[in-house]
């Protein structure tokens, strides 16, 4: 469900960009997706392949996903560590006072156009 909402907005953003810059066809879209953004990449690509057909400017555009590794900061010992491997508890000092620095974003990096 989440993926569908994001795809609908992605398609709208790209259509607006295409109209503004007089682009006829978008061939490739590169997204940067955070490791813990909650986006399931397989399902996300399926959603894209379904929805792109509704937009003439996007209907053959391939979706390329780049992963942004998730990094957590520990406010107790002030070190950072990979979120996916260690989760919420700091592997150095075992504090639970930890915060995600990056890894939950979803950014349109670039598009390739005709």
């Amino acid at each position: 469900m989440h993926e569908m909402g994001i795809i609908l907005h992605l398609a709208k953003s790209l259509e607006e960009t295409a109209a503004e810059q007089d682009i006829q066809k978008i061939l490739r879209v590169t997204l940067q997706v955070g490791e813990v953004s909650g986006i399931m990449t397989d399902y996300f690509t399926d959603c894209w392949n379904y929805f792109r057909k509704r937009h003439p400017v996007l209907d053959t555009a391939e979706l390329e996903l780049e992963t942004i590794p998730a990094v957590t900061f520990c406010s107790n010992c002030e070190r950072t560590y990979p979120t996916v491997r260690y989760g919420r508890e700091c592997p150095y000092c075992h504090s639970g006072e930890t915060w995600l620095l990056r890894g939950n974003e979803c950014i349109i990096k670039e598009i390739e156009v005709e």
Partner: protein, 219 residues
């Protein structure tokens, strides 16, 4: 063939729509509140008491967002406030476009306060700006004080946190101070209230804040 660098977040088009909607509502003097929480945190029950207490001072309407059914809208209408059921078309959150459609369904009647009761979910609603002037989230005592750690985005984007169901606190190990500390670490300016919609405890502080927010929005 050429490559265009965009570097914009996927929800940028929604953010733009939300900004337009927010300025239209500001011009009308209607405060839109995006009310978010997990299912069963007590969104509708909090609204019922708030409406009962404040409906003589302010014109209030509620937009109930659900994937299906209209049980919440029926509860609100019983109190004499206008309610519409907003349908998300199967989606787990409301966005600015769906919010605009629901506002149109409310009609031309002027309101001081419109509450959007978002879909029960602590994840997706946090990511989509609806055009609301204020974001209010609920966390109920039975859910646990660790939720700011699990759903940091929701706590980061909300202006207000209401801890609900304080009447059952004796039966749960909910650490209010730890919860507030975690929430403020994510969001230092967050307003935090503790209420029981059943007994009315803590409602005065929440309703004072809300009344002031409605009046400030008209300035």
């Amino acid at each position: 063939m050429r490559i265009i660098e965009l570097k914009e977040t996927v929800t940028a088009s929604n953010d733009r729509d939300a900004e337009v909607l927010r300025s239209e509502l500001k011009a009308k003097g209607t405060l839109l509140i995006n009310l978010m929480a997990s299912p069963g945190a007590g969104k509708t029950t909090l609204l019922e008491r708030t409406i009962r207490d404040m409906k003589d001072r302010f014109r209030i309407a509620v937009m109930e967002a659900d994937v299906d059914s209209d049980v919440d809208a029926v509860r609100i209408e019983k109190l004499g406030a206008k309610a519409v059921q907003a349908h998300t078309g199967g989606m787990c959150h409301m966005d600015a476009g769906m919010t605009r459609t629901a506002l149109e369904e409310l009609g031309d009647e002027p309101f001081d306060l419109v509450v959007l009761e978002n879909v029960g979910n602590l994840i997706c609603p946090a990511e989509f700006d609806t055009g609301a002037g204020k974001k209010v989230m609920l966390l109920s005592v039975p859910e646990g004080d660790d939720k700011p750690l699990k759903y940091p985005l929701m706590f980061s984007v909300s202006d207000v946190l209401i801890l609900t169901k304080t009447d059952v606190a004796p039966y749960f190990d909910f650490d209010f101070e730890a919860c507030k500390r975690r929430a403020r670490q994510l969001n230092p300016n967050m307003e935090i209230f503790e209420v029981s919609s059943k007994t009315g405890d803590g409602f005065e502080a929440w309703e004072n804040w809300l009344g002031k927010a409605i009046l400030d929005w008209k300035k």
